[in-house]
Symmetry: D2
Subunit: 472 residues, 4 copies
Amino acid sequence: MSAVDADLLQVTRTTDERELRALEQKYCSWGDTVHYLEPPKFFDRAEGSYLYDREGIPYLDLQMWYSAASFGYGNQRLQRALTDQLSRLPQLACQYLHPEKVQLAAAIGRLNESKFALDGRVHFNVGGSQAIEDSLKIVRNATGKSLVFSFMGGYHGRTLGASAITSSYRYRRRYGHFSDRAHFVPFPYCFRCPYDKKREDCDLYCVKQFEKNFESEYNSFWDAKARQPEFAAFYVEAIQGTGGYVIPPAGYFPALKRVLDERGILLVDDEIQMGFYRAGKFWAIENFNVAPDIIVFGKALTNGLNPLSGIWAREELIAPATFPPGSTHSTFSSNTLGTAVALEVVRMMEETDYETMVCRKGAYFLTQIRALQARYPKVIGDTDGMGLALRIEICGEDGHTPDRELTDRIFAEGMKGDLDAHGRRMGLVLDVGGYHKNVFTLAPSFTITDEEIDLGVELLEQLIRRCAPGRF
Amino acid sequence: MSAVDADLLQVTRTTDERELRALEQKYCSWGDTVHYLEPPKFFDRAEGSYLYDREGIPYLDLQMWYSAASFGYGNQRLQRALTDQLSRLPQLACQYLHPEKVQLAAAIGRLNESKFALDGRVHFNVGGSQAIEDSLKIVRNATGKSLVFSFMGGYHGRTLGASAITSSYRYRRRYGHFSDRAHFVPFPYCFRCPYDKKREDCDLYCVKQFEKNFESEYNSFWDAKARQPEFAAFYVEAIQGTGGYVIPPAGYFPALKRVLDERGILLVDDEIQMGFYRAGKFWAIENFNVAPDIIVFGKALTNGLNPLSGIWAREELIAPATFPPGSTHSTFSSNTLGTAVALEVVRMMEETDYETMVCRKGAYFLTQIRALQARYPKVIGDTDGMGLALRIEICGEDGHTPDRELTDRIFAEGMKGDLDAHGRRMGLVLDVGGYHKNVFTLAPSFTITDEEIDLGVELLEQLIRRCAPGRF
Amino acid sequence: MSAVDADLLQVTRTTDERELRALEQKYCSWGDTVHYLEPPKFFDRAEGSYLYDREGIPYLDLQMWYSAASFGYGNQRLQRALTDQLSRLPQLACQYLHPEKVQLAAAIGRLNESKFALDGRVHFNVGGSQAIEDSLKIVRNATGKSLVFSFMGGYHGRTLGASAITSSYRYRRRYGHFSDRAHFVPFPYCFRCPYDKKREDCDLYCVKQFEKNFESEYNSFWDAKARQPEFAAFYVEAIQGTGGYVIPPAGYFPALKRVLDERGILLVDDEIQMGFYRAGKFWAIENFNVAPDIIVFGKALTNGLNPLSGIWAREELIAPATFPPGSTHSTFSSNTLGTAVALEVVRMMEETDYETMVCRKGAYFLTQIRALQARYPKVIGDTDGMGLALRIEICGEDGHTPDRELTDRIFAEGMKGDLDAHGRRMGLVLDVGGYHKNVFTLAPSFTITDEEIDLGVELLEQLIRRCAPGRF
Amino acid sequence: MSAVDADLLQVTRTTDERELRALEQKYCSWGDTVHYLEPPKFFDRAEGSYLYDREGIPYLDLQMWYSAASFGYGNQRLQRALTDQLSRLPQLACQYLHPEKVQLAAAIGRLNESKFALDGRVHFNVGGSQAIEDSLKIVRNATGKSLVFSFMGGYHGRTLGASAITSSYRYRRRYGHFSDRAHFVPFPYCFRCPYDKKREDCDLYCVKQFEKNFESEYNSFWDAKARQPEFAAFYVEAIQGTGGYVIPPAGYFPALKRVLDERGILLVDDEIQMGFYRAGKFWAIENFNVAPDIIVFGKALTNGLNPLSGIWAREELIAPATFPPGSTHSTFSSNTLGTAVALEVVRMMEETDYETMVCRKGAYFLTQIRALQARYPKVIGDTDGMGLALRIEICGEDGHTPDRELTDRIFAEGMKGDLDAHGRRMGLVLDVGGYHKNVFTLAPSFTITDEEIDLGVELLEQLIRRCAPGRF
């Protein structure tokens, strides 16, 4: 055995954490989000709502991989679907067909027919960003235009194309000129209304402001002579994900959609984080009574067992005459392991009334965190939730000023794994989001029990008491 | 059960092929490459070097999912790695660490140290295109420039960013303006030399032509006053994949690299298709004696069991000070199922001398197809190979004019599944590539036996005799 | 003489209007604005405040070539400066120096020193758009960024670069993708407040809205970690020109400038239409108490006798170390005929107190049109003015709804040349501008007399009575 | 008089050179090309072929403002046309018509009908770059595409749009990302053949190389399925101007045009420097037997008295239905002073046989500089000429290596004004161009006499003998 081989053997088999950390320091890119926490955390095992660290300490996970593992870690039924496919058709070039691909596409197509009364088709890819890229192709192809609207606070991925329509400038700053940078529109984030209105009497002022853009050609978006908009589509998350699980007021989307329809602008609904019952409905947008032109989905589709993602588009945008063979391609799109798991997810959703389950658990959870807010008004400025997508906004003593430092402290403290869960050591996995990095975005497993919800709230309270000692 | 649910139940469980085809017609996007063949082919099972259709007929696969399944369909060892991880840590948000990620990154980093004497780090993502996008971020961040060179005939993916540096205009035409379109440079495709030279006495004229671009600021690429190039990097495949497994002459890459070094232009080596021993070395570029600045990899890394992909970059391009936490992100990057399988792939490569194995089998296979070429000079214009990446260029009777129609005919005939494999019905899975869509690009499994190679060549000969009756 | 030559001789010497119109139909591009009026109008002679048509009928011109001929048609002193230069140095390549260039640059530089207490330099070009392009180069060079803010309703020219920052989408629609499209911000157009506020108690809500853009990185413009904006500059007209001579409220620009300074964003002041006393001060921006980083000027600089234009920029943006020799070039920049006339303009401005003159005449004119508005409240919705830049907004009977049709009718009627000027036939030259094409933007000659102002108002009244018979 | 006014009075009236230089140092941008020579040169007077410095020393000008003053400095006939217009219609907003505009457009239209048998129209602007921008609008509007080919060594102006299609990267480097950067194609510069061919037997290899771009979609420019090119037009100078007056071989343009026609790519002919008989024909392209789709012109059109420029385009590209009213606009386009002078230029060209005159003088001049080359083979590597566009390429002793230093020395020495013109002190005005800044591009006045040509060559010889003492 050569020295190189011997060395590699050692590297690929070491289990010593100190050595692993040294290797990570030297060989891993830190360009991902691992080093947001110093030192980063190793996890070893996952089951149900829990992650376990290398010492075996459980961490109650209230964020389930940004909603990618909605059906619980180690979900046996879904893992069986994976191993079944593994034993049969573990690989297949995506230029050939296999039944699960067709079944999965058909199921989503049929569902959307029943929901929106629209014909449409499904196109698969891997990773949410690549599905977003496919949707951009559909939009550009159908409209002949490249510019789109999207929301301040919106997040659609980190490829160059997706970064151009994702609000945060920090994601673009070092990467050159973004020729297709979206025009970002304020989201109806009522707790921090961009127009300082009150929901009670705002009369959806924000939609009116958007509509004004089309009043005169000098407002820059509309050619009244040609009756053409400069922008092809509006990319939305029905509920903002990374933006902090912000829930828009009822009526917002129908009003927005009316404007878009009048101006010939497509509505693209990014359901990557909120789709598949996270917000209580199959698609989060169903909560808001509008039919999108394109839906982009991913994450929970396979419960995190495979990066399978995809888009559904209205027939006229995606029919073979418009979007013909070879329009796009990706090696792992419709990979057989992914479609098998996803199909099983869809079957589970047929069999189980997730809508009722998620809404009930969500309502219970929201009640609990609202009570927490009532107890800690100098720490929690806002709570809200739809389905099992919940938000806790950490604020200063005035209940409004974002308190990012405290948020970070609570998060880091939860990762220490030394909370007291009725006598047992435990950690709490939270995720920080929001415009001001002061929001805990909760996306617990759909399998979470009421007891686990209670436990989660207790642990949260412990964290608050540890980290904000003078605030109660 | 509601009507919708009943309907879905039916859809998600149907196995009838006619019904599946009807569903595919209605609900599947045709924008991928499935409908390049009409009607598309269903496959049901995969094992070793064979795909099996729904009737159980085996198809010898000489293309192994564009090289994504190099270690054979249903490779037990790798599947075991997957199921092991499934039982332990099937899911983990990529902001946390798990050992396999670190081990895998370290193994690749160590290997590159030993190969190129360069420090560097690994960044993971899913799907080759997303890894390309990450590499573009690295390039732009490090150089402050967005434009790059890449090769005519080159293929780097189909996201918008990757399409901008992939040669085919067809992949861009309907998708708006590509602000970062690469400048595409002729590849040293000696069988069809872009400069009509002969390799014997060309003295690498093509490199000289490239170098001329920097002779005067009026040649558009070089500011002699500032000593700065307008282009940040040159994206290459050491051996072109989709371009038709074109192998450059020895000496080409060192000469090119010298020019790039003199002008401060990075070399980005796309090994997505050719990496991991496809061309007989761990990285295909090792055959050509140059050290790249960035390597992009994917496909065979997991033998097709997971879309895990990644990049390795030289330390100065990717060190945390340059590419700090949060520089990019992807939900499924370093997903635990992917890293587990990939790590097992690396372990296999430590234990087995793939270099010798692949080169031996490749040489044997090349000998066979060269003999075939000798028997059918009016059908096969060129054959070539490096490792188990082989090419057969189908030409007209002059042995040079590309014969796309015949190529398509042979391909389609192989898919019929009615060839005679010593009395047994069999199909042959080929893949068509090349500038003129007249090249069979062979990427057989590394597990292929000499007998299977012989069989493959026999089946090829049957196809030629069926499809080109007047040409022998 | 050849047939071609004879034909040309005829073409170049014809004076017959019917023949000229036939030639115009066939050989002139209609892509300019001539055919906004059908049939277009020929003029033959110009003097003082009057244009004369081919029949000798005078047209009182209240718009003076969009403010390019502020000092009166046929101004003898300025024409003498032109003919003097013609007899001495009529031509000189701009790579050599001539005194007038230096004197003119120095005069503007000194003036700005005294006005803004800032060092700076002047760079000449021809045509306002080219000066805008030069300013974009200065901005990009100094900041390393390409994106800018500009105003809805703003107009900066029609080159591709200038069109990208000019609000009207109609100017971009047919010309491909504008990679550097500005982000357009609502202008404080209080008569039609974009936020439906009232000036009395709005507390400059519009500035606050602009400032909100920098509150969170998710608002898309600001990287709080790096303390960097995505946008390099804000292009403004202090008073909007094509936008309809809209005058911002006092306090607006200082408040805006404070935000820009806090975020490191340059202020570029486009004075092409409003500079040189049109709005009562040398630069219109002087009315608003802010010091811009760059000033762009043109038009009235030569009283329309030469397209000379230019920019002034703060020393740190334009000093030779930053903007070195060869940074840009234009054959006719600092052409000797242009600098000679412009220098004479500056000398006139030294000798005459234009500030007092223009403000006095402007106040008188505004009083008159306000009286007109009082008489025709169902026709004129708004009047306003600063210096001799005045606006009359034609509205429906409610005094607010823009009435574009009536505006067009009045304009066309004025061009008929059959108004009654105390017994003499006369026409009235108006110009239509504004977001809704319902604003007469008046830019009379600085040489206009009170009698001519009275006459102008009388003629306007005649037009109103002819065109809006039921509205009084 | 205020202190500011007194100061300005002084500044605007100073004639002292030392003071002027101090003002220039402080208030003039150095971003133009004035400081290519240190110290820059002041000129005071111009007449015929001569510039005069402030001491009255004449400088024989062999470059006539890069060909803008082809008809001689102070041409009385043309100046009279200007003063005539000055006394009649010195100003007129370009939205109204005046006869000279129509006559001039018609004359050019008729000429092109007779030359190319094509209908077309003329659109005016000011400055060559703005005319180029208009042509880009025409191209984009007609094709729906933004990308164009242009030549290495080509120069089309310095607005951002023009810089994108002008070869020198130095002109782009500091100005951000150029989303529409042209693909630059090697020009047939036979003295330094980009492909190292010899004209005798190259068989226009360069055209063949260009044509190869369309052989396969993988060559990046052509979608064979859609039969569409990615590039809309090819911008050419028939003879390169700034590129060093490089004259292509006969046959080149017809061969290129055939390829363009086959691929549906427009030919845009930039005649800004070479039009109006500089190369012996009205348009330089007439020497090469192809009909362009668009012609862009400027400079000599007014003999430098006004920046008037324009484009002519084939009817189908520019007809009102395609390029309707309001498609573009520029305040000074078709300004009355410019059209009056330009019309007089056209009339002169009708009356005088410039073709014969320019060709005769050019031939004489070329003979003289060829003799000079024969005498100084170690200094002059190449001479060439077409009409009165002539080139002298300064090389090292091998007659080929570009000698930029010597070129600069000769240029600077000529500007000293101390050459001996038969006993009289004289200077020589040359201009340096070329890919390697080693070419004197001669563009003498059409009014130059044989004696002045002789004198010019004598002065050149004096310069060579002074600056290259060891080379003869």
